[in-house]
Amino acid sequence: MRYAIRWLVLLFCIMILTSCWDRQELNEIAIVVGMGVDKIDDDILLSVQIVNPGNVAAQTAGSLESAPVITYTQRGKSIFEAIRKLTKLSSRKLYYSHLRIVVFSEQVAKEGISPLLDFLARDHELRTDYYVLISRNTEAQHILEITTLMDRIPANKLFSSLETSHWAWAATGKVTIDRLIELIAMEGDEAVLTGIIIKGDMQEGETMENTHRLALRTLLQYDGMAFFKKDKLVGWLNEDASKVYNYIKNSVISSVGVYACPEQEGEMTVEVTDAKSRVKGMVRNNQPKVKVSLNIEVNVGELECSMDLTQEHTLQQIELTLEESFKKVVEDTIAEMQTKYQIDIFGFGEAIHRANPSYWLEHKEEWSELFAKLDVQVDMDFHVRAIGGFNRSVPMQKEE
């Protein structure tokens, strides 16, 4: 009995003495899903997208009276200051654990983002699983002010469409905050972030009426990838270059490529089902050299020309064509980065570092110049694995 009472007293003490230090009810917090960082003069303009929970749940989603999210913007000397100052606008404490995306404006990125990343990585309330994007040709604030349909929370829409397009199209990159810091800090590799643009009229996109149309007049769309020199944005990769970047970085899951038919008019489209890349650095005669091997498996997806796919040599011919044309694209992209920007976004420096650390230690300061002259050998290996539902293309059947 005494024993039991003692336990009960102890338990009671645990309950009353510790107090409810970080207890917060769901209706006392404002869930932040998106964050945008712009700059005005020397100050930071911070925008946050907050979920309006009353208007996102399934049962109330039909009513379009009020917006599913609210975007607040506040100016501050630092991100943290701006965050705390945001409580002047919001009725609730902002809760950052469900942050999906952080958008930096192109302007901010050009000036250097590392001072801004410190808070994002340091604060305990933020997780590290949100994606970092660059708003192209517009302020980050505006990206967070465009309404979307289907996924009524724009930040959520950006999050999931980035994942989908990365999976199926491979011209976008998913970079989380911790990976970004790693890339910035790493010598011999540079950061590359996906760009986002507003397609259509910005004014109209900010209203709920935008979502009332069948064809939305204003949309958020991923466009190109921004590459950095250290923490400063230098330029943009176009779609092809973005893909090449992803291929070399071994982050292509699936994609689609269009190539000219071998020895014929018309084009063929292949579906990439598996892509593996190996970047191997070596130092010969004190000269760095990088070998990129790409091993890509494809299915024939669409044929505009007449080919008999039942013949093995046809498939070999296709593979050969694919290898030749894609190799050229890859080589051109690498060459452009070497000659035009001298920025090693592919991580070749890191490959050299791994292959020959002592060489790297000696030459890392002059890597930009070395990269410009770097001998890059590209090995391409395509395999056609499947040819789809029928053997002979429709144009071929027509000829018969």
């Binding site: 009995m1 024993y3 039991a4 338990l11 645990i14 309950m15 009353i16 510790t18 409810c20 970080d22 207890r23 917060q24 009810e25 769901l26 209706n27 917090i29 869930i31 899903v33 979920v51 929970p53 009353g54 208007n55 996102v56 749940a57 399934a58 109330t60 809760y95 654990s97 469900h98 999906r100 997780r127 929370i153 959520n156």
Partner: protein, 517 residues
């Protein structure tokens, strides 16, 4: 039994009831009648019938209590022979011994014994000029027939359950286990109620130490009345201050027989359709007799479901409270938005909300049990409408909370034993308080304390968590899983560690024992 009567005499003054040494019978008939009736306060349900007294036939008087006797026995075997008596040369007692054809006929002079027999349903025959009486067994009277189990219902399996009558219950068990080694010992507990308590076990399977322990604990019970097995259970359980039952109860003869075959002891209390099974281990409260009647794979799955339900019933509301008030980052985003939208405008904190709902539910459940069957359905209608719908529509509680509380309740109903279910209900509130004050950290603390407590418990010396902690690989066949019967060759290790093989019959052991004797 002797000890019980001794203690009655020793402690006579403690009891408010007249218990002092009673006067024995004398040779005067009327004096004897008055003596017995006087002790019984001339209760009106005692029937007196006189026979003979003239034509040379010596007078005899029978006494019995109305309603406690078996009518047929009384009429045909006692009254009829007495009525048509012829004059007899020798002593009246010898005469009656020959005439009365009761199944059990004893001669007694001890008033205590006679009175007790009278109130157990026996017929007392007093005779002219004799200082002793004949006690003819005629127990009977109204009793409930064997019916379907009301609590532990099953789909497949025997549909009989124990009744309030001890001898019916022992017979029900004997019908399942037809072995001479199934031994029954009875004793009397309760100074006033004088309740018959039987212990049944299979000699040779049960550990002798457990039998000794149980008998010793039963003998130490000193109480005026035993009205249900619960009285006994509370007296003989290993630990009082625990929410967990350390003795199992069942109203199913097949479960009892299975327990006997595992080397456990069945304690039957006269007047209760629930028998006690001891020792009882934690995992046994999650086993239903049906587990052994269905296919093993299905049974294993269902048993897993029960453990899952136990966890849900114990933790669901506290996890909900902890996660929504402390660890919002753990909830998937879209679920969080859905929950948050429900919480909009909710007047109470999540913990208070959960607490109110749980209390309301417990009230409803209690009302459902206490109310008769006729009004039971109206309770559930009011409950569904008030708690389920109106409260949500009025915005007083969130729909998510209703879902959590009702799934908790349903999960709780899965428990095959009611007393384990109650423990879960009790602990749930503790966990909710811990969750509300400390979040998941608190729940973890609670679980650690719970695990320590469970491992600390014993049931008649056997660790409560046996086969899990301490771990017996052999017993895993029938703990969390239910292996096919042909793989369950051995009995539970701790219960029958001297006779494990199930195929090995008891008699082998038995003969050895007799040789020793």
């Amino acid at each position: 039994m002797e000890r019980v009567t001794d203690s009655i005499n020793e402690n006579a003054e403690h009891s408010g009831i007249q218990q002092k040494q009673k006067q024995p019978l004398q040779s005067e008939l009327q004096a004897n009648i008055d003596l017995l009736l006087g002790y019984a306060g001339y209760s009106d349900d005692i029937v007196i019938r006189r026979f003979g007294g003239d034509h040379g036939i010596k007078e005899a008087v029978i006494l019995y209590v109305e309603g406690l006797t078996d009518r047929d026995t009384l009429m045909n075997n006692i009254i009829k022979p007495l009525q048509f008596r012829k004059p007899f040369a020798s002593s009246v007692i010898d005469e009656l011994k020959q005439l009365v054809s009761a199944s059990d006929l004893k001669e007694a002079a001890d008033t205590d014994y006679i009175l007790q027999a009278l109130f157990s349903g026996d017929t007392i025959i007093l005779m002219h000029g004799e200082a002793s009486a004949l006690v003819a067994s005629s127990k009977g009277g109204e009793k409930r027939p064997v019916s379907e189990p009301a609590t532990q219902t099953i789909i497949r399996g025997p549909r009989e359950s124990f009744t309030e009558n001890l001898s019916t219950n022992t017979a029900l068990i004997r019908r399942k286990v037809k072995d001479a080694n199934l031994w029954l010992e009875t004793m009397q507990i309760g100074r006033v109620t004088k309740t018959k308590v039987g212990i049944m076990y299979i000699q040779g399977l049960v550990q002798p130490s457990i039998i000794t322990e149980i008998k010793q604990r039963l003998n130490q019970i000193d109480i005026d009345g035993i009205l249900e097995g619960g009285y006994v259970e509370e007296f003989i359980q290993d630990k009082t201050f625990t929410p967990f039952p350390t003795i199992q109860n069942t109203d199913r003869p097949d479960s009892s027989a299975a327990a006997l075959l595992e080397g456990r002891v069945v304690i039957i209390i006269d007047g209760s359709p629930f028998v006690l099974l001891a020792p009882a281990l934690f995992v046994q409260f999650f086993q239903a007799s049906e587990d052994y009647y269905h296919r093993w794979d299905i049974s294993t799955l269902i048993r897993g479901l029960r453990f899952l339900s136990f966890a849900i019933a114990l933790l669901a509301p506290s996890l909900y409270v902890a996660v929504t008030t402390y660890h919002q980052e753990l909830i998937p985003s879209s679920l969080l938005f859905a929950l948050a939208s429900q919480r909009e405008g909710a007047p109470f904190p999540a913990f208070i909300e959960a607490f109110i709902m749980e209390i309301m539910f417990e009230v409803l459940r209690e009302a459902g049990i206490r109310m008769g069957r006729a009004v039971g359905s109206s309770v559930s209608i009011v409950g569904t409408l008030v708690i389920g719908q109106a409260a949500v529509e009025a915005g007083l509680v969130t729909a998510a909370m209703v879902i959590v509380v009702s799934s908790t309740a349903i999960a709780n109903f899965v428990s095959p034993s009611f007393n384990m279910g109650i423990s879960t209900r009790l602990l749930r509130f503790g966990f909710m308080a811990l969750a509300a004050s400390l979040g998941l950290y608190g729940i973890t603390i609670g679980l650690i304390i719970l695990a320590l407590h469970l491992c600390h418990l014993t049931s008649f010396g056997i660790p409560y968590m046996s086969s899990l902690a301490p771990y017996y690989s052999n017993d895993q066949k029938d703990a969390l899983f239910r292996f096919p019967h042909w793989l369950m060759k051995k009995r539970p290790q701790r219960l029958s560690n001297w006779n494990e093989e199930r195929e090995q019959t008891v008699s082998v052991q038995q003969h050895q024992m007799r040789d020793k004797d």
